[in-house]
Point group: C2
Chain length 103, copies 2
């Protein structure tokens, strides 16, 4: 199970880029990128998209990794975590159908 940080680091090293080089492309401080790779900070959505472009990864895939990691950390220490996600799925379905005027 890879974190976003690990995905970024792996891809950066695969391309032989230094932190400061990738940081420059992302337009962030090296310190921040370092923290992101070690999961000490979360990237922003914009950064995710830039990374997907730089590494030619599927934007949706990376976005899913990013969002799901955020959610997982949000509730991982609840012991109702799994049931919460099941109910969240139902609610999402409901909200989406409502949005399409199906209520």
């Amino acid at each position: 199970m890879q974190t976003i940080g690990q995905i970024i680091r792996t891809n950066r090293e695969r391309k032989g880029l230094l932190l400061r080089q990738l940081a420059a492309q992302l337009d962030v401080d090296t310190a921040i990128l370092s923290k992101i790779e070690r999961s000490e900070r979360k990237p922003t959505r914009e950064q995710i998209f830039k990374l997907a472009d730089i590494f030619k990864l599927d934007r949706d895939e990376l976005l899913i990794q990013y969002l799901s990691e955020k959610i997982a950390y949000e509730i991982a220490d609840e012991d109702v975590a799994t049931r919460t996600l099941k109910v969240a799925e139902q609610k999402v379905r409901y909200l989406k159908s409502a949005k399409h005027g199906k209520v």
Copy 2:
């Protein structure tokens, strides 16, 4: 599909309580409770537990409603929402097993 706000309002009315009476028990301003019931604001976790106690609802059940609603609103307008939740489930499982020393 009921919102937390609707659950609260229904239960408050069932007990014949006024907004200001329930607000007093919750130790919040009437304005806030009004907004919570109409989903204009989110309750805090503490408030959720107080409400469960006041209405004699299952704390975990209400917590699940609260957390899942928060998550659902967070990602409802992503079109990768459902897949995100599936991946989040996997990540939660992984995090939980890691926590129990199973890595």
